[in-house]
């Protein structure tokens, strides 16, 4: 269930926040989290902000994959190449941002 869309908070007006869903797609939503500030990235579900997105944690998840590949690399040597290509790919995606 629960379609969630990522948005960026434009401003907060009491229990409501104006959220930009990308490309000027603006709609307001109820604030369902403790604290939200202008510029925060949030998850909105059916008109309510249910959580914030953490920038630090954003690429953390790929650590798992790297770790998995590294582990496999010890038993199956051809997996080493996955690891390398993954590292390159992550770098490409991230640097595309800067």
């Amino acid at each position: 269930m629960c379609l969630g869309v990522y948005g960026k908070v434009v401003r907060v007006e009491g229990e409501l926040a104006v959220v930009d869903f990308g490309g000027g797609l603006i709609k307001d939503a109820l604030v369902g989290v403790e604290e939200v500030r202008e510029g925060d990235y949030v998850v909105v579900h059916a008109g309510i902000i249910v959580s914030r997105l953490s920038e630090e944690e954003f690429t953390e998840v790929f650590r798992y994959v790297e770790e998995a590949a590294r582990q496999l690399a010890q038993t199956e040597s051809r997996v080493a190449e996955y690891l390398e290509s993954m590292r390159v790919r992550l770098q490409e995606n991230l640097s595309g941002q800067k």
Partner: protein, 389 residues
């Protein structure tokens, strides 16, 4: 296109990346081979409890890229499919009596078991001239209802993610006097427990990411601790689901079932304290019925005494059936109950794509775009596709 450092843009770029996906798929295959070689495993059955995970799975064709022994099955994860027929019947009745009825697009099409004056759903009621309005959110309904003074009712379905909006509207006194709620909200963990207890043989669970933003991932601890099921709270991009599968296979290989948060960019162990406070302030947790399944203990949200003036049932003298009065609420031949529990596939139903199609849904799982049957009908199963890939 994307702006600098925009997390929305980065999500799409990173978590839908084809090359990364192909690497993760190769890791999944490696793990699967190891599981077979070392442990003699023949099938891994991974269950999700979220229609949006099922959507991601079918939308991106994830089943078509997995090894044949790794099966993804959908558990009770669609708040529309599991809404008992009784609530729909009550809503249709009120709509036909002249009230303005608000709800979401998916609940609008949900058919009841019994016809009320020839109407089986709110969309039928609208066809008969009732004032039924489809909204994107509770907030939109609040605003619309405030513009007129007609007595109005919101058919409030949803899980932990959706229900804080009702609580927030009420606590913040945004709800106009003419708007009441048919409260049909449900809690996911009790249903997950029910499903794994009854269905058994679940090798791993992909736990719902957005429900967990509210409840906290901690509510899923019982799965590894009591049932030895590897459990990964996952996000909704294709790579999130693929990574979750990797993590489950890894745990199976290491015989170390535990709870992992893959969706760490927005899910914590403790969850959203503010929303949990709102839910606790407005609702009591009660035993509640699930369509095609029956009563599950402590699995429903009901407006508590302080807010009973928002309760449409109380306002219009409608009494909810008790556990004793509740009857199996599926139409003859419909196996949605088993589909919802992950015990049967949509294609196991003899009505699938014959009597029951997305345009003329017969069972609840065909109604919601998120229902397993609707998803299978629109996106197809695995067989036809493997050749193309």
């Amino acid at each position: 296109m994307g702006q600098q450092g925009d997390l929305r843009y980065l999500t799409k770029k990173l978590f839908r990346d084809k090359v990364l996906a192909s690497q993760i798929i190769r890791i999944i295959k490696e793990y699967w081979e190891l599981l077979r070689a070392r442990k003699g495993v023949e099938e891994v059955k991974i269950m999700n409890f979220c229609g949006t995970h099922e959507y991601t799975t079918t939308h991106y064709g994830i089943r078509s890229v997995l090894p044949p022994g790794v099966n993804l099955v959908a558990g009770p994860g669609c708040p529309v499919c599991i809404t008992p027929s009784f609530y729909v019947e009550a809503a249709v009745k009120l709509a036909l009596e002249g009230l303005t009825l608000y709800t979401y697009g998916d609940a609008y099409k949900l058919p009841a078991v019994k016809e009320i004056d020839g109407c089986r759903s709110l969309s039928d009621a609208r066809m008969m001239g009732a004032d039924v309005r489809v909204v994107y959110s509770f907030l939109d309904a609040i605003r619309d209802a405030a513009k007129h003074d007609k007595p109005s009712v919101f058919l409030a379905v949803g899980f932990e993610t959706t229900c804080p909006a009702y609580a927030s509207g009420i606590v913040n006194r945004l709800v106009p006097e003419n708007l009441a709620l048919i409260m049909a909200g449900r809690l996911t963990p009790p249903a997950a427990r029910f499903a794994v207890e009854r269905v058994g043989a679940v090798s791993g669970v992909i736990a719902p990411g957005h429900v967990s933003t509210i409840t906290g991932a901690g509510v899923w601890r019982f799965l590894p601790e009591e049932f030895d099921i590897p459990t990964v709270v996952s996000g909704f991009e294709p790579l999130d689901v693929l990574i979750a599968i990797t993590l489950i296979l890894k745990q199976l290989l290491e015989d170390e079932p535990k709870l992992v948060i893959e969706y760490s960019r927005t899910v914590t162990m403790e969850g959203n304290r503010h929303a949990k406070r709102l839910l606790a302030e407005v609702f009591d947790t009660v035993d509640a019925a699930w369509r095609g399944i029956g009563f599950i203990e402590k699995s429903g949200y009901a407006l508590n005494e302080n807010f009973s003036r928002y309760d449409a049932f109380r306002l219009y003298g409608i009494r909810e059936p008790s556990r004793e009065e509740w009857r199996h609420d599926l139409l003859p031949g419909c196996i949605c109950g088993q589909v919802i529990l992950g015990a049967a596939k949509p294609t196991d139903c003899r009505l699938f794509m014959k009597r029951c199609t997305p345009g003329t849904p017969y069972g609840p799982c065909m109604v919601s775009v998120e229902g397993s049957c609707s998803i299978w009908a629109r996106m197809g199963g695995r067989e036809a596709l493997v050749e193309v890939v």
